[in-house]
């Protein structure tokens, strides 16, 4: 099945696919995910702190972006908005949609992690004279981000793969590069498997990074949790 011609196509295309992976897929993921984290932390905090008005706004935003398909969100922004005079280039349009979409999911992850921090942490902060913002910033949020680290890493891995949807709004990322080569060479099976394997390598690297990160964080965190579970000391 694998003849010389196919082998040549695969090696030729490897760099042609990997290059947009490094210059488009990864930047798209990194920028979108970073923005998503900022959005998510803000949206989680306004809910956690119960700030009236903003909390409702956050709920509405999350409701919309979790409740509609990512692909449709991409289409609305890229193909829909121009009809009301808003024209956004493919790459920034993709960044906008991916960060808003991921922000909505991660906001829920972080909110749950904030709520999992024992209430005694807040009370202890008050008792040493700190104010609410100081306690959130220095005590509660760091603990919550640690709890949220594994699910957020998952989300990052998912996003690397989801960026392939950006091909639909003409972003020249890995998947689009592959489609172009397929159109020229008529080798869909081999080429789509090839790009799939490159995604797999990206995910594997991220998974390894996640492991390492968790290991580092868990030195402090996991042990504290298991202690809490073991002893009944923390119940009230």
């Amino acid at each position: 099945m694998i003849n010389e011609r196919l082998l040549n196509i695969l090696t030729d295309s490897f760099w042609k696919i990997l290059l947009p992976g490094l210059t488009v897929t990864i930047p798209l993921t990194v920028i979108s995910f970073s923005l998503a984290m900022v959005i998510a932390i803000v949206m989680a905090l306004v809910q956690f702190a119960n700030i009236r008005g903003l909390k409702q706004l956050a709920r509405f935003y999350i409701w919309v972006f979790r409740g509609t398909p990512l692909l449709i969100q991409l289409f609305v922004v890229f193909f829909g908005l121009p009809s009301v005079g808003i024209v956004i280039d493919p790459f920034p349009a993709a960044v906008l949609v991916f960060s808003l979409n991921e922000g909505a999911y991660s906001a829920e992850t972080i909110r749950a992690a904030l709520e999992a921090v024992p209430s005694g942490q807040l009370e202890a902060g008050y008792c040493v004279g700190m104010n609410y913002l100081q306690i959130i910033e220095r005590i509660i949020l760091p603990q919550a981000m640690r709890t949220a680290f594994p699910p957020l890493s998952n989300a990052l891995i998912a996003m690397v793969k989801d960026t392939s949807l950006a091909a639909n709004i003409t972003v020249a990322e890995m998947f689009m590069a592959t489609q172009r080569i397929v159109a020229r060479t008529y080798e869909p099976l081999a080429l789509y498997i090839e790009v799939g394997l490159i995604y797999l390598v990206f995910s594997t690297i991220l998974t390894a990074l996640q492991r390492a990160g968790e290991k580092k964080l868990n030195i402090q965190h996991q042990a504290a949790k298991s202690r809490r579970r073991r002893g009944g000391l923390w119940s009230r």
Partner: protein
């Protein structure tokens, strides 16, 4: 120094504090005893505004406050003068022992980091944990955690420290080390209001004892008189019962 008049607090209509009066003078070590559910924790929490009382007066350093409605600013100001030691320690889980002690100094009191660390080290030395400065809470035993919590409480140089059953989450072997630290604090003249089940501590360290039940003060008096000549039948009953319990358990003093 701290005076409370007629404090009342209800949870969902159930009255937990039914008009409690209390005075703590400078240098006092006041022990609050009472059966489970009598409102001791609630009382302490109201004094530090972790819970909002329904009504009552607080006189702190001659300044008068209505416990039902104290401004946020006053709460912040009062909390700078007090400390709280929790039953379950509540150390900041993402901070080392030293950082636990310095956190309030640096963020709330704006003390330069270096100076705060000096104070923090001194406080940890006092509770015998100089060698544990860089340990995280989960790396410490319960007794050590509670001693860090006490170091944290005293580092801010408060006028009074509230203790809510500081040893009851601890294994009996670890109770002694915490009580020893508290006794030392008392000897140094720290003003303390201590909810406790440790009769030995109440008897030998405190100078006054308050016995609470069902949200009211049943009896109060000097420690010696309270234990040797309790006036109320209910107090005698309570003391006998806890004597029996501690005969089965361990004595630390």
């Amino acid at each position: 120094m701290v005076e409370v008049k007629n404090i009342r607090k209800a949870f969902d209509g159930a009255e937990v504090l039914k008009g409690v009066d209390l005075q703590v003078y400078q240098g006092d070590v006041v022990a609050i005893l009472g059966p489970s559910g009598s409102g001791k924790t609630t009382l302490l929490r109201c004094l530090n505004f972790l819970e909002t009382a329904d009504s009552g007066e607080l006189i702190f350093d001659g300044e008068q406050f209505h416990l039902g409605h104290v401004s946020k600013k006053d709460i912040a100001r009062l909390r700078q003068k007090t400390s709280f030691v929790f039953q379950n320690y509540n150390l900041f889980l993402n901070k080392t022992a030293l950082q636990n002690v310095t956190e309030g100094l640096i963020t709330a009191r704006k003390i330069p980091k270096e100076q705060a660390e000096k104070t923090g080290r001194r406080a940890l030395a006092k509770v015998g944990l100089s060698d544990r400065e860089d340990y995280y809470p989960h790396q410490l035993s319960g007794g050590q955690q509670q001693r860090v919590a006490i170091a944290r409480a005293m580092a801010t140089d408060p006028e009074i420290i509230y203790f809510d059953e500081p040893t009851s989450a601890l294994d009996p072997e670890l109770t002694g080390e915490v009580l020893a630290v508290m006794r030392q604090l008392a000897d140094e003249g720290m003003t303390m209001l201590v909810v406790t089940h440790e009769m030995g501590f109440a008897r030998t360290v405190s100078n006054r004892v308050i016995f609470m039940e069902d949200g009211v003060v049943v009896e109060e008096g000097g420690a010696k008189a309270f234990f040797e000549h309790p006036q109320q039948a209910r107090t005698r009953e309570f003391l006998q019962m806890s004597e029996k319990e501690s005969a089965q358990g361990q004595q630390h003093f």
